[in-house]
């Protein structure tokens, strides 16, 4: 799948591979300790955050699950 930053797709794939492995083999099994993909995540984020700024995508400053706050419990 492509990244919104054309130059970031390869970095995204590298990070995704690391994350998916950690998610299935560690996180879901209850292993504590953070995600070991910090380096690849950093490289990926540097690229994609720049692309987001350049394309003026208004994703900054949004509360996590913001619009969910005014919704009733499911």
């Amino acid at each position: 799948m492509n990244s919104v930053g054309e130059a970031c797709t390869e970095l995204k794939r590298e990070y995704d591979q690391c994350f998916n492995r950690w998610f299935a083999e560690s996180f879901l099994k209850g292993e504590r300790g953070g995600e070991p993909c910090g380096d690849s995540f950093k490289r990926y984020q540097q690229c994609v955050q720049r692309a987001i700024r350049e394309k003026d995508i208004p994703v900054d400053g949004l509360d996590f699950m913001g619009p969910n706050k005014d919704k009733p419990e499911s």
């Binding site: 799948m1 995204k12 995704d16 994350f19 299935a24 953070g34 995540f41 994703v59 949004l62 996590f64």
Partner: protein
Amino acid sequence: MVKYFSNDTDIKNGWEHVVSAFWQRYPNPFSTHVLTEDVVYREVTADHRLLSRRLLTKTNRLPRWAEKVFPGNMARCVYIVEDSIVDPVAKSLTTFAWNLNHTTLMSVEERCVFTESADQPASTSIRREAWISSGVYGFSRPIQEFGLARFKSNQTKALKGLEHVLSDLHGEAAPRPLRDPVKEPLGKAKEAAKTLASVAPSTKPQQYI
């Protein structure tokens, strides 16, 4: 005026498989309208829950009558934020997604909760809710109707896409990374989209949805 929609469904895959597939569901033959996908925030909380934010861009397909009325909207794609919380102890995944642009035309907010099925073994229950509204004076009703129709169709595609990705795991005991994230051949995706078009109800032209 807000249109509310909710739907419950079960899929015959274990919760861990479903949640692993959730991160890998793009691209799939039913997601040709999804252009890009990026994780823009991630955090493991002290109580071992995973918080994530994904940014998606999708094509903005409108019915012809709306294209004529709102020509400016054709130029840009739709930006969608999808926030999610994975709780591996409670075995729940909650997602909340909403569009950042074209909001005056239509605002779609969607919440999904994935949990282990209470009564069916090795199955996952999905509860999907949507709130659809339009702020355009004089057009809000037809826009909301269109929005709801498109949402339902996208919901079907989303489920089919997730099941397609999950079918790679059929028979496997433990979840694992499904595949290398290599881009699907474009021809294959187009072919699958055509197949979908041929079985779609004839009252709804495929291009709108």
